[in-house]
Assembly symmetry: C2
DNA sequence: AAAGAAAAAGACAAAAAACTCTTTTATTTG
DNA sequence: CAAATAAAAGAGTTTTTTGTCTTTTTCTTT
């Protein structure tokens, strides 16, 4: 569904969101442990997301990654689009380049519905909105 | 969503289904052209599907791939499961190994619905059921 | 100003997926 | 039976994805 990089990205950002609730920052090592991902790999991914403004970062002692009010409101759709491109939002299930209403693949019509559901779900979900449930251990980011 | 191999597999089988409506067989070259896929790659995939009984084949002159009444009734879900395994039917969207009702990832509940929709769609769709529309050029398997 | 901490960057390495080429085996047909 | 045909099998190659390691830059704190 999503690439590994994208799965890690979402989990990492939700982790950072939770941790930066109270304005603190969180380092790569803690993130990697917190979501059970390869440290250097998630570092790369976050660097990328940072360059693109989906997460904030600060170097040096007491530095780390964090989110502010504005970035806490970023949608998972934005994250997915940034990491995986928009194939999941608009691509053909059977890999046709020009699959459309007028030239549909056999799954086109049914899949449109499903793609729209996925889009809506990802568009609706914001980075900050899971904090409470994560805090209460009703939701999990690893294992 | 699906691997390339799986996309080709579905398209190839739908192509074979259409061609074997009248009991004839179709060769690898014609299939590769018909669905616009790399010839040797789809050959491999079909060999695999053939070994597993999802398509029938015959060697030698006037040989080729074909489907009978029984195989025409195979579901796309079976094809997907054979080629890609069942990660799409049961895997976690965020890559957790033990994502479940009792230990859910943040997307678990929403995604369950979507996965079920996909499952149902694939379970319902049978290899033979697109023949008429393919014939009339209302559906396409390439480009 | 110096030391230490932490992200950024860059270069590799390993594994998986996608794709290619060649040889072998089975089957049909003249 | 011989020749031709077509799938099966096997052994690569290339590309992409995933993951690792090392060095550099930036920032903070003392």
């Amino acid at each position: 569904m999503f690439s590994k990089a994208c799965e890690y990205a979402i989990r990492a950002l939700l982790f950072v969101a939770q941790k930066s609730k109270d304005g603190s920052k969180v380092g790569i090592k803690e993130i990697a442990k917190g979501i059970d991902s390869p440290e250097h790999f998630i570092a790369k991914i976050l660097q990328d997301l940072s360059r693109k403004g989906l997460v904030l970062s600060q170097k040096g002692p007491s530095g780390g990654f964090y989110l502010d009010d504005s970035t806490l409101n970023i949608s998972l759709a934005d994250v997915v689009r940034t990491v995986d491109g928009d194939s999941i939002f608009s691509g053909c299930a059977l890999g046709l380049k020009q699959c459309s209403e007028t030239k549909p693949c056999p799954l086109h019509h049914e899949f449109k519905r499903i793609r729209d559901d996925i889009s809506e779900m990802l568009q609706t979900a914001k980075l900050g909105e899971f904090n409470a449930l994560l805090e209460k251990n009703k939701l999990f980011l690893k294992r």
